[in-house]
Amino acid sequence: MISTLTRTERFLALWISMAVSICGLALAIAGREDPLLIHGLLILLFGLVCSYIVMFGYEEKAPGTERLSLYYDEPIKAGVIFAMIWAVFGMFMGVWVAAQLAWPDLAFDAPWSGLGRLRPTHTTGVIFGFGGNALIATSFHVVQRTSRARLPDQLSSWFVLVGYNMYCLIAVSGYLLGITQSKEYAESEWYADIWLVLVWVTYFVLYIRTLARRKEPHIYVANWYFLAFILVVAILHIVNNLAVPVSLGHAKSYTVWPGVQDAMVQWWYGHNAVAFFLTSGFLGMLYYYLPVRAQRPIFSYRLSILSFWGITFFYMWAGSHHLHYTALPDWVQTLGMTFSIMLLVPSWASAGNALLTLNGAWHRVRDDATLRFMMIAAVFYGLSTFEGSFMAIRPVNSLSHYTDWTIGHVHAGALGWVALITFGSFYTLVPVLWKRRQMYSPALIEWHFWLALAGTLIYVFAMWNSGIIQGLMWRTYTEEDTLAYSFVDSLKAMWPYYVARAFGGLLFLIGAIICLYNILMTIRSPDKAESRDDVPHPADLALAGE
């Protein structure tokens, strides 16, 4: 890793690591009477470990200029592995939390193991840990290949990747310690948020610099999606996290937004994190890895452009559908509902574009589990965007909101779309990165595929059932015009579904562990590919199905 950095970059890397350590030390001293102490020490330790790694490789031979004629793939390799480690961690937390809902005593008599503290470690672990690392890794790969340009330097990409993982680590450990802003999907506190801004700005600049070096006048559409993801997430993150810390020695801060405005800003953030983190970025993945794996160009390039602008424009209006029938003004609710329905057009255009790309190659989808991951992802993308628009309609929302239906919807998108497209992309990417002919075990990919699909379906069906039952029980009246069921009645009715959900999640987790194992074994396998082709040979694709 260090051997690929130039002398100047090693010097800078050391300097940055030291600066991080000093910041950690300063936080620890300022927050010595606060949970901030632990985070200060954690940051200090992280900085010291990075310094040690840099110093350890400091005297290695510097890379020559021949590096400039190759793509820079080292950080991508690390990103793929980080993503899978976070996936296993985040999904394990998810299974634990799900099990706690069915068996509430499955916790220790310690504050950190309560459901309220574990839940954000699950959401952050899978969305930011798994999803974020996957996006960073694949975006570095796609931008280099489609621009036919190497990343402009070696250090920035490592700063983005390592810095981002430090953010995830601070965030997740903070929730266990009780450090949280309570803003869903943005729970991390002020100092972690500031650090993420630094990382993200570097990411953005790096991306733009790489694009500026491209050999083609046209920017390939996958990069548009990645760029929108990077940009808009920055805007959302900064606006939603504006806060005043209690003091520089406190982890705790208070958001600047009061009541109604806070709710609107939070769901403008929350919904667009789904749009630009979990949709736009992963569509970027889809528009590159699907054509490459299928060895067919995307069905309609024009359609991909139209849906890009549609998604970028419409999504931003849709957040208020999270606040139907609340104290938010009615016209804002109506606007949110209208745009949510309009969103269906660009969403289905993307899903259809992906499926039509595969039209004529169905035999390959049948034989190649990797391609099947991507196809099912596109199907789930279509289904969950339809469901999303449907649930944004006010009367439907009156039933679905606050119930497990929302959880089912989110997981149809997160498991069925986000995770499956990522697995499909990784199975395409890993042999390319490590220059192997194919993955270590095609049979394990098959196993992973069926476990993931079964897990998703069990999960989603359980939550649909429980959500609709909950919603109906809460609003059922007796003939005497009183409420028919107490809240506890509805809770009792949930039990079998909570068990089923935990089981579905467990299947999905096992699949992810298999994926991590398969990737690690591919790296260890001696089977080097002879050619340096960037795409699998048709012969390998056929092999993968055996």
């Binding site: 403008w268 667009n272 931003m316 909101h401």
Partner: protein
């Protein structure tokens, strides 16, 4: 013309970036900007009280433990919700909330009006081990709250930060935050009249966890739960009728 424009945009990645910002920011601006002037149209609630330092500390525990993940604090304008939980929530009720805790999921019931619905002893027993009180409950147990001392030495800083983001705490409130927190949970001490004078006569002063010897996190959390929905009467005076839930299955 537009085509020429787009090609130029695309050729320099920066232009493209600006186009994305322009496309993406409008929705947010159009929906959010008007909300900052909404105070002009929000119901007035002259009787609105502020959270006492003890209640604010309790609220922070509610946030810390992630209670919002399973409990909403937002009663929608639907008849069944009003029948189950009480008058629907008004914007003004959360105008001093940084952050808001409306929530998005009801694994447990809504808590917007839970204040005074149960006694302190019920809350203490329930938080200690929920299934002792509600056998079917799947809520986690929070036993350690009753044995953890509440940190009050920095409450002045908390109130000052709240004031900085717009909550109208007075200098006196900020200065006496620590003493007020202590007095609110110790009804026989000298500080009580000061609390009543600063935060209103309806402020609840008692040993919330049933023990006066130590000020615990349990005291603070129960004090907070008991004030939920009771900072103003505005919602009870509101006369607009809630909507009947649409019944698509009828």
């Amino acid at each position: 013309m537009s085509e020429f424009f787009h090609r130029k945009l695309e050729r320099s990645a920066i232009g493209f970036v600006l186009a994305i910002i322009a496309a993406a920011s409008v929705g947010g601006i159009v929906e959010i900007a008007p909300l900052f002037t909404i105070d002009e149209t929000v119901e007035a609630a002259p009787d609105m009280r502020l959270y006492t330092p003890l209640e604010l500390a309790g609220r922070n525990i509610y946030v810390r433990e992630g209670c919002y993940a399973c409990h909403s604090q937002m009663i929608r304008t639907l008849r069944d919700e009003v029948d189950r939980y009480g008058p629907y929530s008004l914007a003004v009720e959360s105008k001093n909330d940084h952050p808001m805790l409306w929530g998005s999921k009801r694994t447990g019931p809504d808590l917007a009006r839970v204040g005074d619905k149960y006694g302190d002893a019920w809350h203490v027993a329930h938080l200690t081990y929920p299934r002792d009180v509600v056998p079917e409950s799947n809520m986690p147990a929070y036993r350690w709250l009753a044995r953890t001392e509440l940190r009050i030495d920095d409450l002045s800083e908390h109130l000052a930060a709240q004031r900085m983001v717009g909550v109208p705490y007075t200098d006196e409130m900020v200065k006496d935050a620590r003493a007020d927190a202590y007095a609110q949970a110790n009804p026989d001490t000298d500080g009580v009249p000061g609390v009543m004078q600063r935060y209103g006569d309806e402020t609840q002063v008692r040993a919330f966890d049933g023990v006066t010897s130590q000020l615990t996190e349990m005291d603070a959390l129960v004090a907070y739960l008991q004030i939920l929905g009771r900072l103003t009467d505005a919602a009870h005076k509101n006369t607009a009728a809630p909507e009947t839930s649409p019944q698509p299955l009828d």
